[in-house]
Symmetry: C2
Subunit: 592 residues, 2 copies
């Protein structure tokens, strides 16, 4: 056994010889960034180890095995910027779980009916429902009723009695499990007030950045580790939110969870392999009502857990939730909703008909496969512009840049295109071919490791002293993402028999959608240029939809109906997808 | 710690100083007979211990504390004669849990629906029900379906999927939990064939003979011990029945349980105190459908546990079951059903109206409070007659008698009455007042311990060398039991506005009802004399009703309807009960 210490996090862990540094980070409770799932491909898990001569040596954590006591410097477990507000509105508060005041009659020798029968009668009078018999709640019922002065408060879910008590709050939690980020809202189920919110990185990130790598991990091992990690994360958010709201877990009677199909399956402990093997189907996609405590959540022991329905293997409960938050079932105008997280889901439709599809547009914008890509954390370039041949960038947290997050990458690509640093084919120009006003950018164009690059920050300008750049290969990744998304939109319109101009509204959901510059998105053709004026940011619509369901039972059934009605287009099986995709790889010419 | 050995059972146990011998017997896994619950009152727990000088010394196990290594001779754990057959008929086999062969479609890229959706579609086609989504069964569903060649067999309970498998049996168990005896039938759910049956003493007997002493034990301690004891007993019967039928617990998908309200509550782990405190109400009396494995039963992990409804605190699910077995909901003629176990339950009615009540008639006939009373086990006098002044008895097992069981006691009382040994007031005659033909019985009338007695077996004739007799006090106990039952019948008739002669059928259920001589019962007025010709034995009708429910879903709902419709008469609260009771204490004059 060797000791591995992490001085920056003030942690030490003992591991066996041969363990990778990545595994040691996980064992120490850190959340290393390993988008490729530890395959040695992405290079994102780079850390520094103290060499025996005292120098620092940079290595890939996933490829370095521990063969001695080791000191590791890593930025894992850092704080991330996360979006927690959203759009969507409730008609009224009408939660699926409700509380009712009862007056229960006492038994007499003349009318010796069972405790449960008298309770049932009282609930029938007060709430108009016939409760289902439950021996556990019936235990010692006469004594319980007496101790509550025969006027208990009942907490009900449909015809199920969840609790009998003197009084208490009725709390509910709504959770959006993203591939990268988990957000929780704790709300008062009667007033609808959000009491506290919390968010954290999805701890499954340590098993891979995207759903494919995590599903692979689950297939090679078991889904259990992934399942336990996400359940523990949701529970820690819940406990933390309760603490901050000065509230008790006993008063939480419902939890609503949304997430993409893989997160949905992993939370439930289901084998995700059918999701990533053709024909990419979920094991189960129906809306589910389960027992929250069975899934490790700190809630009342009879609290209900609601999962919104999934639409397909790659269009999950998060999309059903976005559709609810965007009221697709009431929309008169043809609307395109785009939710770019680690995957990009697209919905086009109105109240009469909706189609959905999923594209691989997300990963590039979440940092994977981009040389200096990173998540939207401190040190990330999140916006950029080129004016008169001068590049200026903004950095999250205000210091020197460490890398480039999705919105920054999008701006840079759009600005490079406009400045002629790249042409419509995506090729980075030779210095001498730069248009006149862009000449000052000439010294940023270099060849590094045999690849043509556009330098964003010189060594001295960056946080690490390293030169930060966008390579020709990075531009190709953006083109692939852009091409997939644009082809998806085109195919969906074709499927519906509609044209781009029939779309009257474009709703951008999710963190990336909220931070990105819509002009940049249209400039590179990620979103059709003609739709620029129709774009609206809707924030964390998936989380908002979950909260709507927590506060209104009709919302839950509306989401179920919408999901059932939504047609799914499997791009992979569509013969014209590849053609459209190749067409759309080109950047658009600038419009005037 | 001291060692206590039980040579007759070949068992030894270590207990702490101060433990009672009764507790040591329980700890050794024996089932001592302690009807009073270890209060030192009934004297039934008598055992012999080896004194230090090597002699045997008789002591009460409940009052003797262990203060050294001890050797104990006890008859506990003996084999008992138990009734397991019954009456009642099934219209047809139509079990609540059924199996269906499915053909499930494969997912394709063109039709990538979830595994559950395709399964649901297959069940809809084959069985006409829409199954409820269940994430646990959906786990890895594509792989499961593939391994079953896409043609699985589904086991269904309503809209609940219980199992997906290649093929297998559909087994069901029906259990009658009596206060004294537990009977289990294991049946094939498709053919209705009873594969094996088993029975054993209710191990709760060690905590008290009747429901009152057990409820007291539960109130003074917790219901848990009692609950665990009966669950373990039912499970051991089930495992044994499975073994003898060469069947697997995995194939048991339903278990139906009946029992009086106290047994029902204790099996469920419910506090029974409301049953024995005025106004004597159950905590819950509705028909219940629960999960069998939660109650410790060796069945499929999704097997259903059905409990028939209770009618009142002292009229339980066993009575609901008897009413089903006797088809009260289809009876045209006014019928009296009598189920004498440890309590005596009475039902009078027809398909238009039924009333039920409970009397304390049972205990005397189960051996409690009778000097030489015992259960129907080897050594018990079970029948007796007096012809020409000569008493003859039959003994279970054929040896010398050790005591008198219920049917024997009934015969003896009837014969003594007919022979003039007792008069209508129940008083044992002076020797000189015996009628002529009974003169040879004169030397059987003696005074023992200050009580007038009728000797049944002289010392040399009995198994223990002890003289076996019926005392004046025993006769009084019989009168109390008889008075309670006759008063109950009279009150029920009055309540219905009917006369004795309106009763067209008398059904005797239960072990005692089956073994007793109806002529004796009528002779002492336990059953009105006018009804003798209308008596029919129906065997273990409670067990039979449970089995009917296991094999036919309609039977389960019929029993629920009958229980709901049945009117309950609380004798204790009825002002005329005491009067009637006193009237009925007298034995009837012999009819010619």
């Amino acid at each position: 056994m060797f000791q591995v210490s992490f001085p920056l996090q003030n942690r030490t862990v003992e591991v066996e010889a041969g363990t990778t540094v990545l595994a040691a980070e996980i064992a120490a409770g850190l959340h290393p960034d390993a988008p490729c799932g530890g395959m040695g491909v992405c290079g994102k898990c780079r850390v520094e180890i103290l060499a025996e001569n005292g120098a620092r040596e940079e290595v890939l954590a996933c490829e370095t095995k521990i063969d001695r006591d080791m000191t590791v410097f890593t930025a894992s477990d850092e704080h991330h910027r996360i979006l927690t507000d959203g759009t969507g509105s409730l008609d009224r508060i009408d939660p699926p779980v409700r509380k009712v005041s009862l007056q229960v009659g006492k038994a007499t020798l003349q009318n010796p009916t069972s405790g449960w029968a008298r309770l049932r009668e009282a609930v029938r009078k007060a709430a108009g429902v016939e409760i289902r018999p439950d021996p556990d709640l019936a235990d010692g019922l006469s004594k319980t009723l007496e101790s509550l002065d025969w006027e208990p408060q009942a907490v009900l879910y449909g015809d199920e009695l969840l609790s009998l008590r003197k009084e208490g709050r009725l709390l509910t939690a709504a959770v959006d499990i993203g591939t990268t980020t988990v957000v929780l809202y704790l709300a008062d189920g009667e007033t609808g007030e959000v009491l506290s919110t919390g968010s954290m990185l999805n701890p499954q990130t340590q098993f891979g950045a995207d759903v494919i790598s995590r599903a692979n991990y689950a297939m090679q091992n078991t889904p259990r580790e992934l399942s336990e990690a996400i359940r523990a994360a949701v529970d820690s958010l819940l406990r933390d939110a309760l603490f901050r709201a000065n509230a008790s877990a006993q008063d939480v009677f419902s939890v609503v969870i949304v997430g993409n199909t893989c997160m949905h399956h992993l939370f439930l402990g289901l084998d995700p392999s059918s999701l990533v093997l053709s024909p990419y189907v979920p094991s189960i996609s129906e809306p589910l009502v389960l027992d929250a405590v069975r899934y490790g959540l700190s809630a009342n022991r009879r609290a209900k857990l609601f999962l919104l329905p999934c639409i397909a293997g790659f269009v999950g409960a998060d999309t059903a939730s976005v559709m609810l938050a965007c009221s697709y079932d009431r929309r008169e105008e043809l609307t395109l909703a785009i939710d770019i997280g680690t995957n990009g889901e697209l919905v086009i439709g109105d109240r009469t008909r909706t189609v959905a599809c999923s594209t691989a547009a997300g990963p590039a914008f979440e940092g994977a496969k981009i040389t200096f890509g990173m998540r939207g954390a401190a040190g990330a370039i999140d916006h950029a512009s080129i004016q008169n041949g001068q590049l200026s960038v903004s950095v999250i947290g205000g210091g020197k840049p460490r890398g480039i997050c999705g919105s920054g990458l999008l701006d840079l690509a759009a600005q490079m295109l406009r400045a002629g640093v790249i042409d419509e084919t995506g090729r980075i120009a030779d210095e001498e071919d730069l248009p006149g006003e862009s000449k000052p950018l000439a010294d940023r164009i270099r060849t590094i490791d045999g690849l043509r690059c556009f330098v964003i920050a010189q060594g001295a300008e960056s946080d690490t002293g390293e030169c930060i750049f966008i390579s020709q290969k990075d531009i190709r990744e953006i083109q692939l993402a852009k091409g997939a998304m644009a082809a998806g939109i085109a195919l969906m319109l074709e499927y519906l028999g509609k044209k781009e101009t029939d779309i009257e509204k474009v709703l951008l959901a999710g963190a990336f959608g909220n931070y990105m510059n819509p002009e940049s998105a249209c400039a590179i053709g990620l979103i059709p240029q003609k739709l620029l004026s129709k774009i609206e940011m809707v924030g964390n619509a998936a989380g908002r939809g979950a909260l709507m369901c927590a506060l209104n039972a009709q919302c839950y059934s509306r989401s179920a109906k919408m999901a059932e009605k939504t047609e799914f287009i499997e791009l992979a099986s569509n013969p014209s997808f590849q053609d459209r995709f190749v067409d759309e790889l080109m950047f658009p010419e600038e419009e005037e």
